[in-house]
Amino acid sequence: MIGAQFAGNLTQGLVLGGIYGMATMGLSLIFGVLRVVNVGHGAFVMVGAFIALWFFTALGLAPIIAIPAAFAVGMALGFIFYYSAIRRLIAAPELSTLLATFAIGVLLEEVVKIIFGSEFRGYNWAVGKLDLSITVLPYSKIYAFIGSVAIAFLLYLWFRKTRAGTAVRSVVEDSEGAKVCGINVGWMYALSFAIGIGLTVASGVLLAMFIPVGINPYMGGGYTLKAFVIAVLGGLTSPYGAFFGGLIFGLIENGSYTLFAMIPGVEPFALTRFLSFIILLLILLIKPTGLLGAK
């Protein structure tokens, strides 16, 4: 019995993990290319969740249709913030970019608060459920998972098969060398930042499909912290690493919850979060290139 419950929770964790992974790819992409940690990451996830909510409640459209729109909004936001602030801070000490991205996150939260108010919102997209006997998965979660995998694969293709993707990779490898080879490094930074933000906002839609409740302007903070753990699991600089980091994190989160819940007198949810930060520290110390990274 406990085995079936455990397996069921792990299945849920794997599906959620796929979405977590996709929600972290933007963070890793931006850090990998620009060496900027986006501390306002969660706020962009929140914007995506509101776009999904707005599509469903105001336009009556399925949230999954909101993904391209969210990606476009995210890219636009990415370009705006890149050219207004980040561009001038790339060479500055970490302190500047950390604080600037945090302030950008706060700005987004406050703007959304003025537009939508600060109460918790949710929606109900009833598309049926899939019974796996060990657990029940609503189709909305399955669509979100498929969407995550598809987006991750598209990003992979973009990196491998297009000129721009190759150029970005060369900038990561050696930005001076890329410049010598005639690559517009500044534009590649801008593009990577915009795509990174676009992915993050799009992931907000997927998260809102997985968890369609609790949408409010300040929901992002928790996702920022989770994204840090996941990004570190994946080696911080690699978007694919982040995707697999997300899968692993989803499994750990749900698996450890089941185990902690068996200990009497503790709060299993908080202990799960505690465990995730222990993992973060261990990986940073022992293998900062991530679980899958090279030596």
């Binding site: 940690v37 302190l95 600037a100 912290l225 979060r273 520290l281 110390l285």
Partner: protein, 333 residues
């Protein structure tokens, strides 16, 4: 001898600022709370600057040290309030416990996280802060997520009137003292061997290492100093003043951000910077709360971005360049 005293001239404007705050608070009715808040912001700015400003390492989990300091004071009051002969000793023990706990945490964190640099260090320190908070909540130690509320114990130990004076007056006065001590330590470090070592480390850690500077030792010293000051501030401004402690509040990342803003606004690695930053930040926050309640953050966020982009050296950084070669040079650093 004279050269020795000249070294400490920059303390004059700092202490003058604190004295003015104190006198305004004492003599103008209704101003004490505001002045105490300004002193609090100056104090955390000063304390954080000793690590962040001097080493250039961004500790995103700095608030954790204030948090454990708060717990130190809370634990002392909760466990000792029935020991009558201790009297004010309970508060003294609480303060010592706060400093010890914050230092121990900083040694543990420092041993682990200070091996990392740049963004990796920042992320690790966030991890420590959040991890510690969830450990308290998850394992249900120190009251778990319900926290500790000890106004009752404080009243029982000291009587209603004394307890109230302790919370509303002495907690603030001690913050002034801590701010003063932090300023003194800052200049003592800046003018000493440790200051030169940290400057070298901030500019180029590898080069400093090659030159034979024991960078690890000085980083740890700055880290512990900064953390123990933070612990004492938490014990006073949060525990003794508010008489409760909740893990979700004392480990809130926004307080770390406030510290960073104060340091950056005034000028990182300067003595006067955190004071100027604390005053500007505290006053504008207060003013915005009065004029535009609910919109403070909306206005603050873009201003912060503009300041980072346009004036990364902060007020004192700019001022320092302006007064170079003039009489004021001795006082502004």
């Amino acid at each position: 001898m004279r050269a020795k005293i000249v070294k400490y001239y920059p303390l004059i404007p700092v202490y003058a600022a604190y004295l003015i705050l104190f006198l305004i608070g004492k003599n103008v009715p209704g101003m004490w709370q505001l002045m105490a808040m300004l002193a609090f912001y100056c104090a955390i700015g000063q304390a954080f600057n000793i690590f962040l400003g001097m080493t250039g390492y961004v500790d995103f989990g700095y608030v954790a040290f204030m948090g454990v300091g708060t717990y130190g004071m809370a634990l002392s009051i909760v466990h000792l309030y029935q020991v009558e002969w201790l009297g004010v000793g309970i508060i003294v023990i609480g303060l010592i416990l706060a400093v010890v706990m914050a230092s121990l945490l900083s040694i543990a964190v420092g041993a682990v996280a200070l091996r990392l640099r740049g963004a990796y260090f920042a992320i690790a320190t966030i991890g420590v802060n959040e991890g510690f908070r969830y450990f308290i909540e998850g394992a249900k130690i120190w009251g778990g997520s319900e926290g500790i509320i000890f106004s009752g114990q404080l009243t029982q130990a000291f009587g209603r009137e004394t307890a109230s004076v302790l919370s509303t007056l002495w907690a603030d006065i001690i913050i002034f003292f801590i701010a003063g001590i932090a300023a003194f330590i800052t200049i003592y470090y800046m003018r000493g061997k440790i200051g030169y070592a940290l400057t070298a480390l901030r500019e180029d850690e590898d080069a400093a290492k090659v030159m034979g500077i024991n960078v690890t030792k000085y980083k740890i010293i700055a880290f512990i100093t900064s953390a123990s000051l933070a612990g004492s501030i938490g014990a006073m401004a949060w525990a003794l003043k508010l008489t409760y402690v909740f893990p979700s509040e004392v480990f809130e990342i926004h307080y770390t951000i406030e510290c960073i803003i104060i340091v950056l606004l005034g000028g990182a690695g300067t003595l006067l910077g955190p004071v100027v930053g604390g005053l500007i930040y505290g006053l504008s926050k207060y003013w915005l709360t009065v004029v535009l309640p609910g919109f403070q953050l909306l206005i603050f966020a873009p201003i912060i971005i503009i300041i980072i982009v346009a004036f990364p050296e902060g007020v004192i950084g700019v001022l320092k360049r302006r007064v170079r070669g003039s009489v004021l040079e001795k006082f502004i650093i």
